[in-house]
Symmetry: C2
Amino acid sequence: MHIVTLAGGIGGARFLRGLRTTAPADQITVIGNTGDDITLFGLRVCPDLDTVMYTLGGGIDEQQGWGRADETHVVKDELAAYGVEPQWFGLGDRDFATHIVRSQMLEAGYPLSQITEALCARWQPGVRLLPMTDDRCETHVVIDDERGRRAVHFQEWWVRLRASVPAESIALVGVESAKPAPGVLEAIADADVVILPPSNPVVSIGTILQVPGIRDALLPKTVVGVSPIIGGAPVRGMADACLTAIGVETSAQAVLSLYGSDLLDGWLVAPEDAGVALDGVRVEARPLLMSDPAATAALARAALDLAQELTS
Amino acid sequence: MHIVTLAGGIGGARFLRGLRTTAPADQITVIGNTGDDITLFGLRVCPDLDTVMYTLGGGIDEQQGWGRADETHVVKDELAAYGVEPQWFGLGDRDFATHIVRSQMLEAGYPLSQITEALCARWQPGVRLLPMTDDRCETHVVIDDERGRRAVHFQEWWVRLRASVPAESIALVGVESAKPAPGVLEAIADADVVILPPSNPVVSIGTILQVPGIRDALLPKTVVGVSPIIGGAPVRGMADACLTAIGVETSAQAVLSLYGSDLLDGWLVAPEDAGVALDGVRVEARPLLMSDPAATAALARAALDLAQELTS
């Protein structure tokens, strides 16, 4: 059985680790969000792809959920000593090496998909990890604070401002001309089921769905999503700030409606959200907290079971 | 009194530290060798400029003579884990930050001279440090080993092969179209004396002298050189391998003749080389070993005294 998942960062990566215990890894293709990619110090940083790669490859900082285990920060401190901005993005030394390799390969003309494959040759995540696109399109956020109304890179809003300033709007700049990366549409066409992990529905899953061709390719497929919202609050992260920015309530119901019944066939919600419903979508209540490997595996199993049930 | 010096790496940097104790630092302009610059992992590395900057700025690894004090090597080890080449060039984490800043500024369009000034704003070397040129020209060496006859970058011969394979020839690729960096010819024109430290006469001083316009500008000046050779052997490093490559004997006499009486007015040799002579050049014997700060300062003082004597 071929499985395709769309994934953002921490939540998606953890879910995938569970999914990998319930299905053969080589049957899983992950389409990763690249909308929060950013060029820092001249180096190309792909936070979500790296979080998936490090998590599935055994190199992740488990406590933090992103970045490398046993990390040091010598380069970052030295850059700060030179007065180089930004100083609010926490790149560690081990992580820097990844960005140096990626940037060197980009400069040499390789597309991000081939670079991701090359990096994964070291990390052996088991699953096949594809960027949603090889084209550069970055999420920007319009904010209005003491420095005035302006668009900032998603990372500046998310990391520097910790989403404390309301986002007036969120836009994936450049998406109109972006094409799905090689292998993405093929993997979807070949998929028996598609799983949407509890990643951010706006700036992770929502971003991937904006790449022309991806959403359309998913529509005829059996798609099961896991709600990233439990009882009116994000499981983790600041998805509520993103939902508010696009005028969507922070609830399992609202995210279900956002994805829509044309996309979704099944929807897993937490027991406290058992009343959630949408015509044409099978909603089931399951424990959603990925509190430990067993709970995470059980959640992935539940999503996969529902998907298989819906295909039969 | 305005002083100009040409400098390579370790030897030049140590000499400059002595010179700075005998003359006001703000009267000293250093023209640094950039012929051994190299792009590694997509980052621009300027070993000689950095050795001068770190040495005069108090950041050098004193034992090693190059690289940063208290250095770590996390990034290098990670790059090796990705299988990225070359693995024979020992970049430390602190040092990496310098190359990241430099590369980012180059990418943004700044010339190396302005970048060097920006980096020196942190290090405060006291002296004014100028690259010999803003144009890219790199030293290559023709060798013939078990992999066949081929040209390799100077660093590959020097660092990876430790100059163990004879150099058939040495060429500064691209020098024909290189221009002296802004400020270089002006500093020479403005100089009362010019000092050549005991840097490598082929791949450091010799390289700087090849940049069109620099040697000609130096000819009318009072130039005093310090022999990098004592009694038939280099004071440090592998200058003999470079001299052999260009058909010059490894001796204080031969290097004196190489520089020539049109360039040099004074030449300091070690006591054991007291017989060295060339028409038109005042040769004096002095202890040349920079064994400690006092000896280094005395050597710089001797060079400066001779230069002043020759101008009066």
